[in-house]
């Protein structure tokens, strides 16, 4: 039987979607999913990539350092270079805590588990 990949809104499948400084030079995003199944399905679905974050935040892909699935917390972490060190001239968000907005509209692929 063919298994189909479905799409879901990130806010429907994740209970925590947040951004924060990881030190003054990096911005980090945490997406914590409602269940192990949803976490695995999103990881398998492969939507959350460096390329996607580069497009969403309109920065070159090399500024997105890593996309790291973290099973113990059913979470995906993405870390990027800050546009400018925290608190520098032109700063809009010293703590980096309000940069998650574009993720709230996001649709991601949920891929079913491989049959054993």
């Amino acid at each position: 039987m063919m298994k189909t990949t479905t799409r879901a809104k990130l806010t429907d499948i994740a209970g925590v979607i947040r951004s924060k400084n990881a030190g003054p030079y990096e911005l980090t995003f945490d997406i914590i999913f409602h269940s192990d199944y949803l976490f695995s399905a999103v990881v398998r679905g492969g939507s959350l990539t460096k390329e996607l974050f580069a497009r969403l935040y309109r920065v070159p892909e090399e500024k997105i350092y890593a996309v790291i699935p973290y099973p113990p917390a059913k979470a995906i972490k993405v870390t990027m270079e800050r546009l400018r060190p925290s608190g520098s001239l032109g700063e809009t968000d010293v703590y980096g805590a309000q940069q998650h907005g574009p993720l709230l509209e996001l649709l991601v692929s949920l891929a079913p588990a491989e049959e054993v």
Partner: protein, 449 residues
């Protein structure tokens, strides 16, 4: 010693905690109370200016409770990153409060002070020797960065704190320190596994944030044993779950599996989290990978003085042309103050358009009203005031195509409309120092109080 119990009253000294939780913690007969006081989150100002980002009255309130209880129980207290940023002025500030509490409460103990401020000379010397490396996203360090910095601190590891405890300190006020060390220093002296001690310290330094519902203003207890540790909140309304504890290693970290510190990396790849009882989680399997010793340096420099003006617009014609209007105001300012040769920073924060995200904002929708903060940073407060005042009045009366509301373009909530925000700092140093002695760079002083 089969286990060592560590009490974390609050995530940041001065954030507060419920007395009932703290008393429950003391009933568990902890061997140590630890408080991490520091963070770079509030930005470069506090480091550069030598000021605490926490309030003195709040810090004193926390210290009174902690110092009286630790004195009665005869257990040590270790404060890391005193005064928030951990420079000399910050340690001075924190020590003054400690000594005030000691006088008022008639407490007598052995007090240790460990400084973490680095002299520009030492950093220049290390720079010349090739012993300074930038962290990700940071440009290579220059002599100009070092000489321009008003305060440079280094993050100490466990070693200076252990030396203070070995010399009999009851209360340690340490300058900038790697977050977990105020908890990990003592257990590692007692022969407990450094990986588990540091991992536990990493969780405890945020107090009850790793519980659910999480809070930085409530107490957490850590019980470290030979091959695992237990972690639980001290408020019956909270609980630790494997997820809440595991999720904590995401918080403010670039990589949840690898947490870098002064002498190596905490490796959480094989860490196991198990629910022990309703409130408690057992953690095991964490490893520590040693690497050559490094000290993380943080520095800030002054870039000028700031003035700000808060205003708003409810005019669709104005909002529709806001980019052209701000560009026009900039030109007008540049023209009028040619002598300053644009040696100032003039910026318009446009709330409703991209005030929160700036260049990262993907949306481009026209709002019905616009919040505007005009800011100017200039070499002196007077120049900042002058530029801001000119920019504000130019914007207020700016003529643009199709203008209908000719009496004024801005709504000010306040009189005066402009505020002096004072000195402005930026991070100047965020680098690793190599080939450095873990102990000698952080001078220790001990005295009886």
């Amino acid at each position: 010693m089969d286990e060592i119990r560590l009490l974390a009253p609050t995530a940041i000294l001065g954030y507060g905690f419920p007395l009932s939780s703290f008393q429950r913690g003391m009933e568990e007969k902890p061997h140590l109370i630890g408080v991490d006081a520091g963070s770079t989150d509030p930005g470069p100002y506090y480091l550069g200016k030598g000021k605490s980002f926490t309030d003195r009255v709040s810090v004193k309130r926390d210290l009174e409770i902690i110092m009286e209880a630790s004195s009665a129980a005869g257990i040590p207290v270790v404060i890391g990153s005193a005064g928030g940023s951990g420079g000399q002025a910050h340690v001075d500030w924190n020590l003054e409060i400690v000594e005030e509490v000691a006088r008022e409460k008639r407490l007598s103990f052995t007090l240790a002070r460990i400084d973490a401020e680095f002299s520009p000379d030492l950093v220049l010397q290390k720079l010349a020797a090739g012993d300074v490396a930038p962290l990700p996203g940071v440009p290579p360090l220059t002599a100009e960065d070092v000489l321009g910095s008003t305060c440079i601190v280094g993050q100490m590891g466990i070693e200076p704190l252990q030396e203070a405890l070995r010399q009999g300190a009851d209360l340690v006020v340490a300058g900038r320190a790697y977050d977990p060390v105020c908890f990990a220093a003592l257990p590692i002296i007692k022969g407990f596994d450094p990986a588990l001690a540091l991992h536990l310290g990493k969780i405890l330094e945020c107090a009850a944030i790793a519980s659910t519902p999480g809070s930085g203003r409530d107490c957490m207890l850590g019980i470290l044993r030979r091959d695992h540790f237990l972690i639980r909140p001290l408020d019956p309304l909270r609980r630790c779950t494997p997820e809440s504890v595991a999720a904590h290693s995401l918080y403010e970290k670039a990589d949840p599996f690898h947490l870098r510190g002064p002498g190596g990396t905490l490796d959480l790849t094989d860490t196991r989290y198990e629910q022990l009882d309703a409130q408690t989680v057992t953690v095991s399997g964490t490893r520590f990978q040693e690497s050559p010793y490094t000290v993380k340096l943080e520095g800030a420099r002054r870039v000028g003085f700031r003035s700000v003006c808060i205003a708003g617009s409810r005019d669709p014609v104005m909002i529709g042309q806001i980019q052209e209007i701000t560009a026009g105001v900039r030109d007008s300012v540049a023209n009028n103050f040619e002598k300053l040769q644009k040696n100032y920073f003039l910026h318009f924060h446009l709330y409703g358009l991209h005030g929160v995200m700036g260049e990262l904002e993907p949306l481009n929708r026209t709002p019905h009203e616009l919040g505007i903060i005009i800011e100017c940073v200039a070499p002196s407060q007077e120049e900042a005031n002058t530029i801001l005042s000119f920019a504000r009045s130019t914007m207020l009366h700016y003529g643009f195509p199709g203008r209908i509301s000719t009496a004024g373009n801005l709504a000010f909530p306040y009189s005066p409309s402009d505020f002096e925000a004072g000195e402005v700092f930026e991070f100047s140093i965020y680098h690793l120092l190599k080939n450095i002695d873990p102990l000698q760079s952080f001078p220790l002083q001990i005295k009886k109080v």
